[in-house]
């Protein structure tokens, strides 16, 4: 009961943040209404970075302590991160069409984000090729550390290669109304991220228990 209340609370906060972004925050002077896409595009991107950082930390933790819980956490965070990165790319494309005139361009930020997406899809796909839990975790952990190197590249790509995507805005260059709306939505996405990772972790745990029970029966 307490868990359902918590889930409802997270979704209610998400709805509140979305309403705030759509109806309370003023539109951008130049881009108009379409700029409101920032309040979903940017939080999705930030939180995908957080998810991949969790993969990175859990992979290191697995290599140190060799506990399955770290591998479960890495797998769960990677899956949620992939969902958010996919969403970021799609929203960027929808925003790009009316502002840049194109759905896609080989801009540094877009390209590195697409690479990031495919790296983690590859990570999750490779995991499926190994059935046994321990070898799978042993092989996945170094990969989870290695592919995280692309996250700072994505973040800094707009500074390293000055292409079409704008560089990061800071609170000093934005209207306080917009900063508030962005923060609200960033936290709404963060709570959702925690909820998703937690439930994906529980799913993997249940799967492990079910597999163990099946193996016991076979024996």
């Amino acid at each position: 009961m307490k868990r359902i209340f918590l889930i409802l609370l997270v979704f209610a906060f998400f709805v509140f943040a979305q309403i705030w972004a759509l109806f309370v925050t003023p539109p951008d002077q130049y881009m108009g209404e379409v700029q409101r896409l920032m309040y979903v595009h940017v939080p999705a991107a930030w939180n995908s970075f957080i998810a991949f950082f969790v993969v990175f930390i859990s992979s290191i933790a697995y290599l140190i302590w060799k506990k399955q819980k770290w591998d479960r956490l890495a797998e769960s965070a990677a899956e949620v991160g992939v969902v958010l990165t996919g969403l970021t790319l799609c929203l960027g494309s929808i925003w790009g069409r009316p502002t840049w005139g194109v759905w896609w361009t080989w801009d540094a930020r877009l390209t590195t984000t697409a690479i990031l997406f495919f790296l983690y899809v590859g990570y999750l796909t490779l995991r499926r090729f190994v059935q046994d839990r321990d070898p799978r975790a042993r092989l996945s952990a170094p990969l989870g550390i290695l592919i995280f190197l692309n996250v700072p590249v994505v973040y800094l790509s707009v500074r390293w290669w000055r292409t079409l995507h704008q560089i990061q805005s800071s609170p000093s260059t934005m209207s306080p109304d917009m900063v508030l709306s962005l923060r609200l939505n960033a936290f709404a996405f963060l709570f959702l991220l925690i909820l998703f990772i937690y439930h994906r972790y529980q799913l993997r745990k249940l799967r492990d228990v079910s597999e163990d029970a099946l193996m016991e029966e076979i024996r």
Partner: protein
Amino acid sequence: MNGIIEGAKEFLVAGYVLTWIVLLGYSFSLIFRHKKVSLRGTK
């Protein structure tokens, strides 16, 4: 620039609808997968 952006409200709607589809879709996928594993475990 404004000429391109005017009337771009449908893109805004598309973006927010897509966000909800993805997030709700993933939530339901977690629920269904959880149910599937629970059923398999009780067989």
